[in-house]
């Protein structure tokens, strides 16, 4: 992990929707192979932040640098090709297409064609525990299964940086545990930013945590320090962290 050459860096990143300032002067740095948790109450601007990192939104001002590439305002497909993958908060899948086809569509960009791609597809199916439903049409699956399809699809593209927006939402405890396990596994070779509300989940995976509040970074510290902080408790009052 090198702090000198950041994998991702944003400077004064700002996004306004009319009068709403969804992201306000966000300065954020992520190192190579780092795992970062992003937390904050609803409306704090976490999803907006992810959308600017992946070209779904063009920032009002500020810059985003991925390794040496300046990517703010670039098209989503260009950023994806540089190696950023995302599981969005609202599931983004291909409804009338099979699970296997999802994985293939993602894997064929990352892998050479031929038998290697077949292997890669089978491997991802296995890893995301989708082998049993590989031929099912994704539109007919449950919400939790669709989450896994999307996670599998992101994995199959083999990105350098993976963004997961509320990956455990709608999952059973067992599946949540499996998600945490996969995140740690991915983190052995890749960097991740994970948005989650579930503090138990955060505790399972987190090293460093960044708190968003009203579009700004409120604090950034080790998991334990963040959970002990009074301001964080205030923001989350009545939420799971209080428990």
């Amino acid at each position: 992990m090198s702090e000198l050459v950041p994998l991702l860096q944003t400077k004064n990143l700002t996004m306004r929707f009319g009068g709403v300032v969804a992201n306000d002067d966000v300065n954020f740095t992520l190192g190579e192979m780092e795992l970062r948790c992003l937390i904050g109450p609803n409306g704090a601007g976490k999803s907006t932040f992810f959308k600017m990192l992946t070209g779904q939104l063009t920032p009002t001002s500020g810059s985003v640098t991925f390794r040496t590439h300046s990517i703010a305002g670039h098209a989503s497909h260009e950023i994806a090709r540089l190696g950023i993958g995302i599981k969005t908060q609202v599931p983004n899948v291909f409804n009338e297409i099979s699970v296997r086809e999802h994985i293939w569509l993602a894997a064929r960009r990352a892998h050479a064609t031929g038998p290697r791609i077949r292997e890669a597809v089978d491997e991802v199916l296995e890893r995301a525990r989708l082998t049993g439903i590989a031929d099912a049409i994704v539109g007919q699956l449950s919400h939790g299964q669709r989450q896994w399809v999307e996670i599998g699809t992101v994995l199959a593209a083999d990105p350098e940086l993976i963004l997961l927006d509320e990956p455990a939402a709608g999952m059973t405890d067992d599946e949540t545990g499996r998600t945490a396990e996969i995140i740690r596994e991915i983190n052995r070779t890749k960097a991740l930013i994970v948005v989650e509300h579930d503090m138990e989940f955060i505790k399972m995976i987190a090293k460093k945590v960044t708190i968003f509040h009203q579009g700004r970074i409120l604090m950034e510290d080790d998991c334990a320090a963040v959970l002990a902080d009074e301001r964080v408790r205030d923001i989350y009052l009545g939420k799971k962290v209080a428990a």
Binding site: G85, N92, E96, L105, R109, Q140, T153, A157
Partner: protein
């Protein structure tokens, strides 16, 4: 139906089609063969929209614009060259280029899907008006007068490739038209199964997800749109070859609307369906034309409403679904094992 069943059914259908195309002139009178030639050229047009709408998710209300451009390109080229071979090529190229320019403007200009419909519709109207007002002698391309609302009469029909002295008989023209219908069908089948086709279906399903995986939805849609324009142009050449005439009414909104009805009736998302829907409705309209009781537009409207309300998936998918239910029921009867609904082989993005 499983994948294999579907493949066998498709191969059988193609085989039957080849036999029908080959043998028809031996069994049918000339009038019927001519009628079939018209239906087949329209079926090619139907396939062009079936592809871009059903597999690319692009609903164009102006597919007849490319059809008309193909027809006029053929007429002008064959009049100048005296040989139908390069004229057919131009009938494909000109609308393809036009679709490229229009598609670039629409897809790269981030114009929403609703406006795509409006724009394609407007372009058709504009083309009609432009061509309609080319009556004067000054509107001549090479040796061919465009003729305004009178159109271009007595157009030279297809000849043997590179041999203008050998003009095809109507039976041969039927073989060419019916044969090209089969070729276009097979070509689209292969295209849909290819990497490009699979990506196009993904873009149809979810542009955002496709882009987040590194695919450029604009480029993919442009490709689909151009291919659709090229096929519609070929259909235009086949149509002009059938009638030896082209006039500005070829750029008609009612034809554009009719293609949408053919596809809706036959089943959107399939290729066989739009061919079937096209031929059935054309036959019906030609039958209505011989009597005076019902207006054909009224009948078309009733058919469309009827299908949308009662059989929204269209003929082919409804039949396919019935077969699937039957097979499922049969399987249930044979085995007492409860089978999960996920084990039922479901339909893929590529359906029929």
């Amino acid at each position: 139906m499983t994948r294999n069943h579907k493949l066998i059914a498709q191969a059988l259908a193609v085989l039957v089609a080849i036999v029908v195309v080959a043998l028809a002139p031996g069994y049918l009178d000339l009038f019927t063969v001519m009628q079939l030639t018209l239906f087949a050229s329209m079926a090619v047009l139907s396939l062009s929209l079936a592809f871009i709408w059903g597999f690319g998710g692009i609903l164009s209300f102006g597919q007849s614009a490319f059809f008309g451009l193909g027809g006029y390109a053929y007429a002008v080229a064959v009049g100048n060259f005296g040989d139908s071979t390069p004229a057919i090529v131009l009938a494909i190229l000109v609308p393809a280029l036009f679709a490229g320019a229009l598609g670039y403007f629409v897809f790269y200009g981030r114009i929403s899907d609703v406006y795509l419909g409006v724009i394609t519709l407007t372009v058709t109207l504009i083309l009609f008006n432009v061509v309609n007002s080319t009556a004067g002698n000054e509107y001549t391309i090479g040796s061919v007068r465009l003729g305004g609302f009178n159109g271009i009469p007595a157009i030279q029909t297809f000849n043997m490739p590179f041999d203008p002295s050998d003009i095809l008989y109507p039976e041969h023209a039927w073989w060419v038209t019916g044969g090209l219908l089969i070729v276009v069908y097979l070509g689209l089948r292969l295209l849909i199964g290819s990497t490009f086709g699979r990506i196009a279906i993904a873009v149809r399903e979810n542009e955002t997800r496709a882009a987040l995986l590194g695919y450029d939805p604009r480029l993919v849609k442009l490709g689909v749109f151009v291919i659709g324009g090229a096929i519609a142009g070929l259909a235009g050449a086949l149509y002009v070859n059938w009638g030896a005439f082209v006039g500005p009414t070829i750029f008609s909104l009612s034809l554009s609307a009719e293609i949408i009805i053919w596809i809706t009736v036959g089943s959107l998302g399939t290729l066989v369906g739009p061919i079937l829907g096209c031929v059935l409705i054309q036959y019906l309209v030609s039958q209505i034309g011989t009597q005076q009781t019902f207006n054909s537009n009224l009948v078309l409207g009733v058919i469309l409403v009827g299908f949308v309300l009662l059989l929204p998936k269209g003929i082919v998918l409804s039949i396919q679904q019935a077969f699937e239910h039957l097979a499922y029921w049969w399987g249930q009867r044979k085995s007492t094992l409860p089978s999960s609904s996920l084990d039922v082989p479901a339909m893929e993005g590529e359906k029929g």
